[in-house]
């Protein structure tokens, strides 16, 4: 799947889980830029992404992401 499509799909998951209609994800987006994206909702997002893409991240991957771009890199690498 190309990167654009992955971002679009992840963006939909964000909107759904965080209950926010106006989320626009870019590579350099961080948790500080998105309302309600904190340590708890982060896990809900991860679980939803894993289900949607049928993948499994390692703990280190999840704890190392600095921004959305790095998260997308991990999805692409699977």
């Amino acid at each position: 799947m190309d990167r654009e499509k992955i971002i679009a799909k992840v963006q939909e998951i964000f909107k759904d889980i965080l209950d926010e209609e106006e989320i626009e994800l870019k590579d350099n987006t961080t948790a500080n830029d998105v309302d309600n994206w904190d340590s708890l909702t982060h896990i809900l997002l991860v679980v939803a992404i894993e289900k949607a893409f049928k993948i499994k991240f390692t703990s280190k991957e999840i704890l190392s992401w600095k921004n959305v771009g790095e998260m997308i890199d991990s999805i692409q690498a699977k």
Binding site: D38, S39, I43, S59, L63, K66
Partner: protein, 485 residues
């Protein structure tokens, strides 16, 4: 060295003059001065604990370099594990070994076995819980690739032992303080004035509010069987304010001193007494510790147990808070305190309000709406109960204290002995003053942040008034509650 003492005043004046005027605002020289000052400050109380701090700093400096240079993940993990084991190991040895020994001896005794275990004579190195947490976050985040290694040893060692924060926090992360240490610091008038103002607020909270309440609460706690239930209840409530004023007062002084030296350190309190639920309370109380625990305890556990849904979150949060409790010291009361707070999160997790940010809704007169005020009161009651566990010397004493509160003497007028009744009334007046100023400035960094006040005369009158209170009502320099953690 305690902030509110004469030797510290001389110390800080000397540092200030050398820092800005003699060293000509040269960053490298300023850092060397700061490092010497840090070790002087730290060794002042007991120089024998200084070598441990220096050796630990050197070890983590080299571990950092090794983690950065290793190309394979496996090697990075090995060096990180050494760092984590050393940090956790030294905490376990210095803080908890006697606790484990006595707990085991009691356990064996309870099943009828006699043991010959002896406790060790261990000095608890001051600030060890605070600087170890700084070092742990350094190696873990390097391993996670969150930032680049520090090659400047002086800047690194200054970060670890930064004297305003070493004894009682805030626990700054490397990426907050190290970049500031390696960039130029020139005298910033506005920041320094802000620092002085915050120090004054800290002095007021510590010396006027906390230390006067302490006279009353110490008497109540030491002789609790002599007093009525109502007095014990009042003692428990006063202790919440004492604890807050003592610890946040210390943090205000630490942050203020750092500001004078040109640093912005992590905010540690955001008006926890105005919290609307327990999750909100912990987002506002001792923030540098709770965010540390969130990143290095709660998150890894939550990630690991993520497929278990709410159960996974509950296990992660309860473990997190039991550790948070035990971080305060080696006593079952602290473990119970942590467990209690962890369990209070369960209804919030199940109802989904855990992650929701709370907002205080105000009436036209600026007071909280009745529903929000109710939530604050409920949270305050929950916190008060938790701090009875925290303050008790043992679980038995906690149960006894609660039993005394629940007796028929709860209906009597609360009263302590002799002159302490006057101190009690003064304490309540000081609490009202503190809370009023904090409420009015709850959107600002600290309660005395009144720089936007229009009338200069009014502003200076408030400063002067607080000075007079500190001078006349400030109890003698007593130690801070959080030094022993």
């Amino acid at each position: 060295m305690i902030f509110n003492t004469f030797p510290f005043l001389l110390f800080i004046i000397a540092i200030f003059c050398l820092y800005y005027f003699v060293l000509n605002e040269n960053t490298k020289r300023q850092n060397i001065l700061l490092l010497i000052a840090n070790y002087f400050f730290y060794g002042w109380a007991n120089w024998r604990i200084l070598p441990l701090l220096i050796i630990t700093t050197i070890l983590y400096y080299f571990l950092g370099l090794k983690i950065e240079k290793s190309k394979e993940d496996k090697k990075k993990n090995i060096y990180t594990t050494i760092g984590v084991l050393f940090g956790v190991g030294s905490l376990a040895y210095f803080k908890y070994s006697n606790f484990f020994i006595t707990s085991f001896a009691q356990l064996f005794k309870s099943i009828g076995l006699q043991t010959n275990l002896h406790t060790f004579d261990i000095i608890l190195p001051l600030g060890i819980s605070f600087y170890t947490f700084r070092l742990l976050s350094y190696v873990i985040d390097l391993n996670r690739g969150k930032y680049e290694v520090t090659t400047d040893f002086v800047a690194f060692a200054t970060y670890v032992a930064f004297f305003p924060c070493i004894l009682s926090g805030p626990i700054d992360r490397p990426n907050t303080l190290i970049p500031q240490l390696t960039s130029k610091r020139i005298f910033n008038y506005d920041l320094a004035i802000d620092g002085f103002r915050q120090i004054l607020w800290g002095l007021f909270k510590k010396m006027v509010v906390a230390d006067n309440i302490a006279v009353v609460t110490n008497e109540i706690w030491e002789n609790y069987s002599l007093f009525s239930g109502s007095t014990l209840l009042l003692g428990a409530i006063l202790y919440v304010f004492q604890m807050y004023a003592d610890f946040s007062g210390y943090s205000d002084m630490a942050i203020g001193i750092a500001k004078i030296l040109g640093f912005k350190v992590t905010v540690n309190f955001k008006y926890p007494l105005f919290a609307q639920n327990i999750a909100d309370y912990w987002r506002r109380w001792h923030i540098s510790l709770t965010s540390w625990l969130t990143d290095y305890v709660f998150m890894p556990l939550n990630v690991r147990w993520r497929d278990w849904g709410n159960i996974g979150i509950i296990f992660a949060i309860v473990t997190n808070f039991v550790l948070c409790g035990l971080w305060h010291g080696a006593n079952w009361t602290f473990a119970l305190f942590g467990l209690y707070h962890g369990l209070l999160f369960i209804p919030l997790i199940l109802s989904g309000t855990f992650a929701k940010k709370t907002k205080i809704h105000l009436t036209k007169s600026g007071m909280p709406k009745i529903k929000d005020f109710g939530k604050m009161v409920v949270t305050f009651i929950l916190v008060t109960f938790g701090l009875i566990i925290f303050r008790a010397k043992s679980i038995n004493q906690f149960i006894d204290y609660i039993k005394h509160i629940c007796s028929s003497s709860i209906l009597r007028i609360p009263k302590v002995i002799g002159y302490n009744n006057v101190t009690m009334i003064f304490s309540i007046v000081f609490i009202i003053m503190m809370i009023t100023l904090e409420w009015l400035n709850k959107d600002k960094e600290y309660g005395l942040n009144i720089s936007s006040m229009k009338y200069r005369f009014a502003r200076y009158s408030i400063y002067l008034f607080l000075f007079i209170l500190v001078y006349y009502f400030g109890a003698d320099a007593s130690s801070f509650i959080y030094f022993k953690f």
